[in-house]
Subunit: 114 residues, 2 copies
DNA sequence: CTTGACCCTCACATCGGTGTCAAGTTTTAC
DNA sequence: GTAAAACTTGACACCGATGTGAGGGTCAAG
């Protein structure tokens, strides 16, 4: 599939897809004329990238962390730490967000009732 | 208390506290020499601001939403909608984050076991 | 007083992902 | 074979909260 198709399939803009590639998160083959072609599996990969980005991982961090999905060789203890610490961060983020949601819910409630 | 004290009490930098004031999120009285003074209650207000900011509310949104805590008069139906839609957004954000956490947890697990 | 710690305003810098525009090339459909 | 749609690279802009630094006041303890 070409970049427009992948964009349509994932919701990521073509600009973003090129950026992901530039950052080493995503790879593509090129047609004779230089246009990018993606395998169907790219859709899932982009979704994963999007999820991790929206969780606050940096593209550099994702670059470090993503290969371990497909490439067994790159697994190092250092990477395990990295993954765990990101997991902890996200977990904390969820907890904070729960508190904030309660605050907002309280506001809504108070607004409704009084 | 002065800005340094409030900063120490909340973890927000003095820069941020001035910014909050500039955006209309926080008010202060001034000493003769022009230095800011805050009541003790400012600590809680700043915590609230921090929570809402970290939940992804914009300072402009918070400006709209915060007054309804202290000022009954400003409550409008429009504000109710606003609050509710922010609440929904945060709720969705939490759900997304749960999925992402599961992804990360899966990576950690896979890393451990294999 | 004086001195050191604290505070003031103003302005510019930073970060990271994305938008957007320009000028040019490739692909597709008729 | 031609036009339209889609793609390419490159560069600059933006957002929004915060950092940072300059140059200059204020406050409190000695």
């Amino acid at each position: 599939m070409r970049i427009g198709d992948l964009s349509a399939a994932t919701g990521a803009s073509a600009r973003s897809l090129r950026y992901y590639e530039e950052q080493g998160l995503l790879s593509s083959s090129r047609s004779g004329g230089g246009q990018r072609h993606y395998p169907d599996s790219a859709v899932e990969r982009v979704s994963l990238i999007q999820a991790l980005l929206s969780a606050g991982l940096t593209s550099a961090t994702i670059t470090d962390v993503l290969p371990c999905i497909s490439n067994e060789a790159i697994r190092t203890p250092w990477l395990a730490e990295r993954l765990t610490s990101e997991l902890d961060r996200v977990t904390r983020q969820i907890e904070d967000l729960h508190r904030t949601r309660d605050i907002l819910a309280g506001l809504v409630d108070r607004y409704r009732v009084e």
